[in-house]
C-alpha cells in the first residue's frame, strides 16, 4: 500500500467526523459555517490568540511526548492527569518557598515539576509491577488523589490570605513567572514552547536513536521475547513511567508558571487525557505529535469563543476531538481488515 492509499481511510474518517460535527450543530440550531469560522478565528485569528494557543500547545506537547514513551512500553498511563497536577503542585511549592531571582527559581520549578510527576508515575508503576494493580486503575486512583491534594492545598494550607476559595492560591511573585518575549504587541510564551518542542525532540530521539528506546519498544511489543533477549522488563517499564511522569510534571510547571501564575484545583487543564487522544490519533508515534497537538489545542482554544459569540457550549471542541479520534481509529481498523482480507482470503472463517 502506498502512502497516498494509506491516507485515504484517514481522510474519509476526517470527512465523516466533520459531517457528524455539522449534524450536531444543526441539531442544536447553531450555524455550522459560522461555528467553524469562529473556531479558527478564536485560535489563530490574531497575534494574542495565536499566543494563547501556543501557550496551551506547550503542556499538551509535554504530556503527549511523555505518553508516547509509556505507550511504547505497552502501558496505559491513565495516571498522566495526576502527574501533571503533581508537577504543578511541586513547582508551586518551590515558587512559594525558594527565595532568589528568576534564573535560579524557574529551573528549580521545572526540576521540581519533573520530580513530582516522576514520583507519581513510578508509584503507579510499582503498584503494577509489585501490587498487581493494573496501571489504568492505579493511575486513575492517583489522578483523583492528586486532584484532591491540589484542592486541599488551595483551600487549606496555601489559601489566599483571609479567604479560602477554590479560585486558587495567591499569585506568584513575578520572579516565578516564565518570562515572555514581547513582539507584535503581545507576549509570546517562548520558554513553554521550547520546553514542549524539546520534549517531543527528546522522545523522538530516545525512541529513534538510543538503545534504551529500542529496548523499550521491544518490551512494549513483546515482553516475553524481550525477556529472552536479556532485557530486564520490569525495570524498563518503570523507566518508561519515570520519563512519562517527568514530562507530564513539567507540563504542570508550565501550567502554574506560565499560564495561571498560581495553583488552581483544575491545574491540569485536562491536557493529560487530551494527550492520550493526541497520541492515539498520531498512531503512537512522536513524529506527528506536534501538528496534531496544535490542531487539537486550536480546537480547544477556539471553542471558548463559541460560548461568547454564539452562546454555544464550548464542549463542542471536545466533541469534535473525540469524534475525529474515534473515526480515524475505525478507518485504520477497517483498512487493516481489508488488507488482511485481500492477502489471505482462505483463512477467514
Amino acid at each position: 500500500m502506498t502512502r497516498t492509499q494509506a491516507a485515504i481511510p484517514t481522510l474519509v474518517a476526517l470527512a465523516l467526523a466533520l459531517t457528524v460535527g455539522v449534524a450536531l450543530l444543526l441539531v442544536v440550531g447553531a450555524p455550522p459555517i459560522e461555528t467553524f469560522r469562529l473556531l479558527v478565528e478564536g485560535s489563530f485569528g490574531s497575534a494574542s490568540k495565536i499566543s494563547a494557543t501556543l501557550l496551551a500547545w506547550s503542556p499538551l506537547l509535554l504530556a503527549s511526548a511523555g505518553l508516547v514513551i509509556t505507550f511504547a512500553a505497552g502501558l496505559w498511563n491513565i495516571g498522566v492527569e495526576g502527574q501533571v497536577i503533581m508537577g504543578g503542585i511541586a513547582a508551586t511549592w518551590v515558587a512559594r518557598t525558594v527565595p532568589g531571582p528568576g534564573w535560579v527559581l524557574l529551573p528549580l520549578m521545572v526540576l521540581a515539576g519533573a520530580v513530582g510527576g516522576l514520583l507519581w508515575a513510578v508509584l503507579a508503576g510499582v503498584l503494577k509491577t509489585h501490587g498487581n494493580v493494573h496501571e489504568i486503575f492505579g493511575g486513575l486512583g492517583l489522578d483523583f488523589v492528586a486532584a484532591g491534594l491540589a484542592t486541599y492545598l488551595v483551600i487549606g494550607p496555601w489559601k489566599r490570605a483571609g479567604v479560602a476559595s477554590t479560585s486558587g492560591t495567591d499569585i506568584f511573585r513575578p520572579e516565578a513567572w516564565m518570562p515572555e518575549l514581547q513582539a507584535f504587541g503581545v507576549g509570546w510564551p517562548v520558554i513553554p514552547v521550547i520546553l514542549g518542542l524539546l520534549s517531543v525532540l527528546i522522545v523522538w530521539m530516545l525512541l529513534r536513536g538510543t538503545l534504551f528506546g529500542l529496548r523499550l519498544k521491544a518490551v512494549g511489543s513483546n515482553p516475553y521475547s524481550s525477556f529472552l533477549l536479556g532485557i530486564p522488563t520490569n525495570r524498563y517499564m518503570l523507566g518508561a513511567f519515570a520519563i512519562g511522569g517527568a514530562l507530564a510534571g513539567i507540563a504542570g510547571t508550565v501550567q502554574v508558571a506560565a499560564f495561571h501564575h498560581k495553583l488552581v484545583p483544575a491545574i491540569s487543564g485536562g491536557y493529560g487525557f487530551l494527550g492520550i487522544l493526541v497520541v492515539l490519533l498520531a498512531g503512537f508515534s512522536a513524529v506527528w505529535i506536534a501538528p496534531i497537538a496544535l490542531f487539537f489545542v486550536g480546537i480547544s482554544v477556539g471553542s471558548t469563543q463559541l460560548d461568547l459569540q454564539l452562546g454555544l457550549d464550548s464542549a463542542f471542541g471536545g466533541v469534535l476531538q473525540g469524534i475525529i479520534v474515534l473515526f480515524v481509529m475505525f478507518g485504520g481498523a477497517w483498512s487493516v481488515r481489508r488488507a488482511s482480507n485481500r492477502l489471505t482470503p482462505q483463512e477467514e472463517p
Binding site: T210, L214, S221, N222, G230, T344, Q346, P349
Partner: protein, 488 residues
C-alpha cells in the same frame, strides 16, 4: 451406521492441510488415524467437529450428508471431540463443567445434573466429586469428565485427539479400556495419534495420513515396519557426516527432577561434551522442551544440579545463564524469539553486547547488511520481523546468536523450513562445533535427528526412554523408539 469422509479439501494459504481425504469407518469400530506432526490429522478432525469448514467434500453419517458449520452442528449430529488439551473451564467445578453448554430449561437444576453425572460416569466406571474444581483434576480426569459429558449429550462418534499426552500410565490403561467398551457398545471411535504402540494395541483398523492425503488404509494387525514406512515416507541418511573430535564435558546434569505444567522428568543424568550435538527425539510434550528450558534457566529444577563448563548454574536466573554463555532458541519464532514491529537491524542491535547509549544506526545498518548477506536473509535492514518468511526469521535468529556460546539450546530449529534453508541452518550451526560449542536440540524430524546429531536421546512420557549413537541407528528404529517400542 457408518462414518464416511468423502474427498475433503482444506487449504490455509498455500498449504493444503487436507488434500482429498476419503475413508470410511464402520459402526463399533476403533479406528486409528496415524500421521506425524503436521501431517494434517488435526485439520481433518477440526473439520469433523465443526471448528473449520471444509473447502469442499462431505462428511456422511448414517447415509446422511452433514452440514458442519459450527461445533453446535457437529454436536447435534452426534459427533463429539476430545481435544488434546481438554477444553474445560479450570476455575469452575466439575458439575458446572459438566452442565456448561448443555441443552435444557433456563433454570439449571444442579441436583438433576449431578444425578446425570453420577449415572453416566458410573456406567463408564469413573468417579467424580461434583464440587471439586477442575483446576485440581489431573489431565486424565479432565478427559474422563469430557468423555462423560459427550456421551451424556448423545455422541455417536467420538474423536480423541492425541488423548494420551500428559496422562499417567495407569490412566492410559483405564482410557484404553473405556475406548474398547465404547466401541463394543456400537460407537464409532476415532483415535488420532502418532504413537505406533498405542494404535497397535488399541485399534481395529487404521488410516495413515501424510501431507494431507490418505496414504494407507488397513485392518489391524499390520506390521510396525509398514506403519513406520507409511508415516514417515522413506527415511534416508546422508553419509556426509563430518566428524569433529569431541572435547571434555560442557554440560553436566546430575539427578535432575524437573516439573513444568503436566510434564515431569525425574532423576535425569546427562553429560554433553564440548563440540557434541545431541538431538532430543520424542512426541511433542514428552519432556524435551522442559529439559531445554531447564538448561536455559527458565525452569528451576526441583532437585539435582546443572553445570556448564565447570560453572554451577543449578539455581541461576535466566540472565545469569545468558552471561555464562548459554543461548536458548525457542520454537515460537515470532512469539518467543523475535519482536514484532522491530527491524532486522534493530534485532541485531538488541542481540549484540553493544552497550553505548546512542545507537550508531549507520554502523548497525552496515552490520545488518553484512549479516543479511552472510545468512542469505531475504529482507532489508529495515524489514520488520513479521514481514519475513519463517525461514528468514530463523536465519535472523541464527544471526542473533552471539559468537561466544558455550551451550546452544534449540527447539525445532528447522520446523517449517524448506530443504535448502534446513541445510543452510545446519551448516551454520555445525560450524560452531569447531569453537567447542555444545549443541542440544529438540526436533520431530527424523531426518534432522539422524543427520546432524552425534547422540539421540529419545523421550517417552516424560522420561528418557533410550539413548543411541546416531550413526548406529536408522530411521525405522528411531520411529519405533519414538513410539515407545524397542525393535526386537
Amino acid at each position: 451406521m457408518a462414518l464416511e469422509i468423502r474427498d475433503i479439501h482444506k487449504r490455509f494459504g498455500p498449504v493444503r492441510a487436507s488434500d482429498g481425504v476419503t475413508f470410511t469407518v464402520d459402526e463399533g469400530s476403533l479406528h486409528g488415524i496415524l500421521g506425524e506432526n503436521g501431517a494434517g490429522k488435526s485439520t481433518l478432525m477440526k473439520i469433523l467437529s465443526g471448528f473449520y469448514e471444509a473447502d469442499s467434500g462431505a462428511v456422511v453419517l448414517d447415509g446422511e450428508v452433514l452440514r458442519l458449520r459450527s461445533p453446535a452442528d457437529a454436536i447435534d449430529a452426534g459427533i463429539g471431540m476430545l481435544h488434546q488439551d481438554p477444553l474445560v473451564f479450570l476455575p469452575f467445578t466439575v458439575l458446572d463443567n459438566f452442565a456448561l453448554g448443555s441443552p435444557g430449561s433456563v433454570r439449571l437444576d444442579r441436583s438433576a445434573a449431578e444425578a446425570e453425572l453420577k449415572r453416566v460416569s458410573g456406567e463408564l466406571g469413573f468417579e467424580f466429586d461434583p464440587e471439586r474444581l477442575v483446576r485440581d483434576l489431573t489431565v486424565g480426569e479432565r478427559q474422563q469428565l469430557s468423555i462423560t459429558r459427550l456421551l451424556w449429550l448423545g455422541a455417536r462418534v467420538l474423536i480423541f485427539d492425541e488423548p494420551t499426552t500428559g496422562i499417567s500410565a495407569s490412566q492410559r490403561i483405564q482410557l484404553f479400556d473405556t475406548l474398547r467398551t465404547l466401541a463394543a457398545g456400537g460407537m464409532i471411535v476415532l483415535f488420532v495419534s502418532h504413537k505406533l504402540e498405542e494404535v497397535e494395541a488399541l485399534c481395529d483398523s487404521v488410516t495413515v495420513i501424510r501431507r494431507g492425503k490418505v496414504v494407507y488404509e488397513a485392518e489391524m494387525p499390520v506390521t510396525s515396519e509398514t506403519l513406520v514406512e507409511k508415516m514417515f515416507g522413506n527415511v534416508f541418511v546422508e553419509e556426509e557426516r563430518t566428524a569433529v573430535p569431541l572435547g571434555d564435558v560442557m554440560l553436566r546434569i546430575e539427578g535432575a527432577t524437573l516439573s513444568e505444567g503436566t510434564t515431569r522428568i525425574e532423576g535425569l543424568d546427562l553429560e554433553v561434551a564440548r563440540s557434541e550435538v545431541v538431538g532430543l527425539a520424542g512426541l511433542e510434550g514428552s519432556g524435551q522442551r522442559t529439559l531445554l528450558r531447564a538448561c536455559a534457566g527458565l525452569v528451576q529444577p526441583e532437585s539435582g544440579s546443572f553445570t556448564v563448563d565447570g560453572v554451577d548454574l543449578t539455581h541461576a536466573s535466566y540472565r545469569e545463564h545468558l552471561a555464562a554463555g548459554v543461548h536458548y532458541l525457542p520454537a515460537g519464532r515470532l512469539e518467543e524469539g523475535l519482536v514484532q514491529g522491530i527491524s532486522i537491524a534493530e534485532h541485531l542491535v538488541l542481540a549484540s553486547d553493544e552497550k553505548a547509549f546512542f545507537v550508531d544506526w549507520k554502523a548497525a545498518d552496515t552490520r545488518a547488511g553484512a549479516e543479511i548477506d552472510e545468512y542469505s536473509i531475504k529482507g532489508r535492514p529495515s524489514s520488520v520481523a513479521e514481514e519475513l518468511s519463517g525461514g528468514n526469521q530463523q536465519r535472523l535468529l541464527l544471526a542473533m546468536i552471539p559468537d561466544e556460546v558455550r551451550l546452544l539450546l534449540l527447539e525445532h530449529p528447522t520446523r517449517g523450513l524448506d530443504v535448502e534453508s534446513t541445510a543452510f541452518v545446519w551448516a551454520r550451526l555445525l560450524e560452531r562445533r569447531e569453537h567447542g560449542t555444545a549443541t542440544v536440540f529438540a526436533s520431530a524430524d527424523l531426518d534432522e535427528l539422524l543427520n546432524y546429531s552425534d547422540r539421540i536421546i529419545v523421550f517417552f512420557a516424560g522420561s528418557v526412554f533410550a539413548i543411541r549413537n546416531a550413526a548406529e541407528i536408522d530411521g525405522e528404529e528411531l520411529g519405533y523408539l519414538i513410539g515407545g517400542k524397542v525393535r526386537t
